[in-house]
Amino acid sequence: MSTETATPAMHQTRSASGRLELTDLVKIYEPGSDVRAVDGVSLQIEPGEFVTLLGPSGCGKTTILRTVAGFETPTSGSLTLDGKNLLRQSPSRRPVSMVFQSYALFPHMTVRENVGYGLKAAGIRTRQVNERVDEALESMSLSPYADRAPAQLSGGQQQRVALARAMVTRPEVMLFDEPLSNLDAALREHMRLEIRRLQRQLGTTALYVTHDQAEAMAMSDRVVVMNSGRIEQVGPPREIYRRPASRFVAGFVGRANFFDIQRRSADETSAEVELWGRVYTVPAHPRARETEDLTLLVRPESLKLTPESGESGPATAVVTAAVFMGDRVEYELTSGESRLLATVMDPAEDQIIPEGSQVRLDLIPERAWLLPA
């Protein structure tokens, strides 16, 4: 980061700055090849916003992150921060700092030296560096480890050092490259909240890369779902989950049942479909009006399951697997030729349906979603 942005005075006006704009980014690694790692991505990130790039490996999300950091040069397209062209600046001049998947802590420096590295590079006086490092270590509960080598810390502590090191320089934009993938599950959930809390506190713009949909949902203001170099959908977590724009998004974010279906009628926001001999009115994607052949998305928790004796629900199915997860039971069902997933939240002990039983099925129409095939 540049020296002037490191001064506290600039920091006060943070919330107004940090608007990151990517326009038509294209990255082709091998000249002459037509394999596009990033294929025309445009994205606007507001100051202080937390945006996650979500997608399978090889979808281009890390390339975008590294382009913003300055480690990759896009083949074409533009990249600006508060209207200023970032592409002309070397990585060290960009007011951007990155948290690496491997943490990349300098093994030959102590924790304190690691955290103070960026401040020293900015030419800040030693006394001030020490003060700010102490403050950062304090806020991360790392003070007792200040003079240890990174190798002497646990994975979680190393992760916190990496965070402190990236944040202490007060960058305009923080970049995260799957920083939690090396932690165990409990610590990972804790660190999600911790990162989010710190990011809100500092008001820094954050761009976060992950392939873990739960992580994306838990942390982000907006999620960008990517597939083979292109953006599939951008939106807040709820919208991505409930109102996916494509089958890919629906399948990648959470578990899903898909029904290939034909609509009977449709207006701007809803449509009538026939399933299991019954007509349902379901919310629909605007483009659902354009075609006849559609896909109905029903999340497992939106399927209603009743024992055979209950006699409610238009369809029947056989339970092929029942998995007790504590807060819920996950069922795998066979209905005719097809396999379905259903989830029942917080079930009473005697209501768990054993494997092999016949059940009746229904769906909650207002939770379903009709999207173009």
Partner: protein, 593 residues
């Protein structure tokens, strides 16, 4: 998945295989190596037997000779020589000369090796591959081949100094010439060391630094260089020890710059003063072992080359012209120098007297190949090198295997003992062998070994020479072996054992194939080093065990450069053929599987 009209998609499908249950993946940075071969278990029989074998071998190869040098140096006659290091300015000057030569060669050689390695790893330039091969050429040639060619080109009546510039300069004789020749000759291994380390650096560290606002120069100074400290230490040690233990170059190129190694040689060969030679050897050992221990300490303190599993990003390419242009100028200058020096050797082998009578002739080769001594030396040297190569290769791998996978507490000690062979100058080994194996070896009065040194010994003294070959090339085998074994994820061996394969079977089927490239490299190096070594074995040659290097040495001393060049060409061709053969052999072994 699509069955009928309905599909079910399982949770976040692509996520699962990548995270793979993060509990199983080691947190980076904390990758403390799990010891293989089970913890807390008692050592099994095979391991114990191997350990005893290795210890016995190292004792015979290095331990006993060094002890004998010590005791001889402190004998009455030896002490008389040792005393002079405290009293006589001549002896003190010799000690200072030796250390200065080691330091200057070490610093310059390390710096040039680093420049070459950095350019190779981080820059793009035409002829990169050729420059790489040119840098490695000195591995396959005896060092005074370079000395002879340097004298021909830059000496008193050198083709360039006198022939081109009309200078009759003695500048090259002494420290400058020695440094030039020794640094160039022993630089390849230092270069390979550093190249490996630069390539192993995780680019994320440098990216992190620059993303924190550090300029390129700052990243280089505060992150790249410090992380390479162990590499610099290793390269410096190598050059330092080789430079101070070299006794042949100072004899032909030293002028009046006298050093310990050549004085030890003169004491023994010229005056037949064994205790005096031992005393010189002892003094020679002091700086070598000191540098070795400092380097170990450094390497241990800095043993933080982090293995993070998944390297992020590709290695950065340096493009700033302010850095690239001077570095590439240096790289090409180096390559041109190698071409010039070795071109001189090859051309010199085919003409009468290079620079004086440049008419084409095959007389030099006739002298070398059909002359009695020449062809004998060739056959003897090849035979002994062929015996030593597999022994040194296997022994080095065995030490590496014990250090990395089998031993727990003693691992550091065994590694230290094995690597000590690098720190003990060849001159010391040679004198130690003279002292130890000129008479039968007995342990508490029980005869253990017959006489090994001298024309009347078994196999005409060849055994001692083979042992000396092994003592110098075992450590490099050990080092590449350790590096290769550490690359292997312990879970591979654990997987094999949990599938019901015994520990010996696992070694044969899993470990061995994985370290085969390292083993191949160790064999090649062992053969090349045996064929080109002289410092230790020059004390041990007999009429029944002649050495090519000694013949070259004699030719250079007598000023018969044409013959010396022909010898060098023959030797280099033999080494190249052997390397090719080893390469093909190991390749076939792999494809058979």
């Amino acid at each position: 998945m699509t069955v009928g009209s309905v599909t079910a998609v399982t949770p976040g499908t692509p996520a699962a295989p990548e995270t793979g249950g993060s509990a199983a993946t080691l947190p980076p940075g904390r990758s403390k190596r799990r010891r293989r071969g089970g913890s807390g278990r008692r050592m099994d029989g095979i391991t114990l037997a191997m350990l005893l074998l290795v210890i016995a071998a190292l004792t015979l190869l290095i331990g006993l000779p060094v002890l004998n040098v010590l005791s001889e140096a402190f004998s009455e006659d030896g002490w008389a020589v040792l005393e002079r290091f405290f009293t006589s300015p001549v002896q003190r000057g010799m000690f200072v000369n030796t250390v200065v030569l080691g330091l200057v060669t070490g610093v310059i050689g390390t710096a040039v090796a680093f420049m070459l390695a950095y350019a190779q790893a981080r820059m793009r330039f035409p002829g990169k591959r050729i420059v790489h091969l040119l840098t490695l050429v000195p591995i396959i040639s005896p060092p005074f081949a370079v000395a002879a060619s340097t004298i021909t080109l830059f000496g008193r009546s050198g083709m360039i100094t006198e022939g081109f510039f009309g200078l009759r300069s003695d500048f090259i004789y002494g420290l400058p010439g020695l440094t030039f020749v020794l640094a160039l000759s022993y630089l390849p291994l230092a270069y390979l060391n550093l190249l490996g380390m630069i390539r192993a650096l995780d680019p994320a560290h440098e990216e992190a630094a620059s993303s924190l606002g550090a300029s390129r120069w700052r990243v280089f100074r505060t992150v790249t260089l410090p992380m390479l400290v162990p590499g610099f230490g290793g390269a410096f040690l190598l050059l330092f020890v080789e430079a101070i233990s070299d006794l042949s170059n100072p004899l032909v190129l030293g002028g009046d710059y006298s050093v310990l190694a050549s004085s030890a040689y003169n004491a023994i060969i010229g005056q037949y003063n064994l205790p005096g030679g031992a005393a010189y050897a002892l003094v020679l050992m002091i700086p070598a072992v000191a540098v070795f221990i400092i380097q170990r300490y450094w390497a241990q303190r800095g043993s933080h080359i982090s293995v993070t599993g998944k390297p992020s990003g590709k290695p950065p390419t340096t493009t700033a012209p302010a850095i690239v242009l001077p570095v590439l100028a240096g790289v090409y200058l180096f390559a041109a120098t190698v071409v010039l020096l070795y071109g001189t050797i090859i051309v010199g082998a085919f003409v009468r007297i290079l620079g004086v009578n440049n008419s084409f002739t095959l007389d030099n080769f006739e002298y070398v190949l059909t002359g009695n001594i020449g062809s004998e030396a060739m056959v003897h040297t090849i035979r002994m090198a062929l015996v030593a190569t597999p022994i040194a290769g296997v022994l080095g791998m065995l030490v590496a295997w014990l250090v990395v996978t089998k031993l727990r507490r003693g691992a550091g000690l065994l590694d230290f003992l094995g690597m000590l062979g690098i720190a003990i100058p060849g001159t010391v080994i040679g004198i130690g062998y003279l002292l130890s194996y000129s008479t039968p070896t007995t342990v508490f009065g029980v005869p253990l070994l017959p006489t090994l040194v001298g024309g009347s010994a078994a196999f005409g003294g060849a055994i001692a020479i083979v042992m000396a070959f092994c003592s110098s090339s075992t450590p490099s085998g050990q080092r590449v072996g350790i590096a290769a074994l550490k690359q292997i994820d312990p879970s591979l061996e654990e997987a094999s054992q949990s599938l019901g394969v015994s520990s010996a079977g696992t070694f044969r089927r899993i470990t061995l194939p994985l370290i085969r490239p390292a083993f191949m490299a160790a064999l090649m190096y062992a053969f090349a080093s045996a064929m080109t070594s002289i410092s230790a074995v020059i004390f041990l040659t007999t009429p029944n065990a002649r050495l090519l290097t000694q013949q070259i040495h004699n030719m250079v001393e007598r000023g018969q450069f044409g013959n010396a060049f022909a010898y060098c060409v023959v030797l280099m061709v033999i080494v190249l053929i052997a390397m090719l053969a080893i390469h093909l052999l190991t390749k076939r072994m792999r494809s058979v599987r």
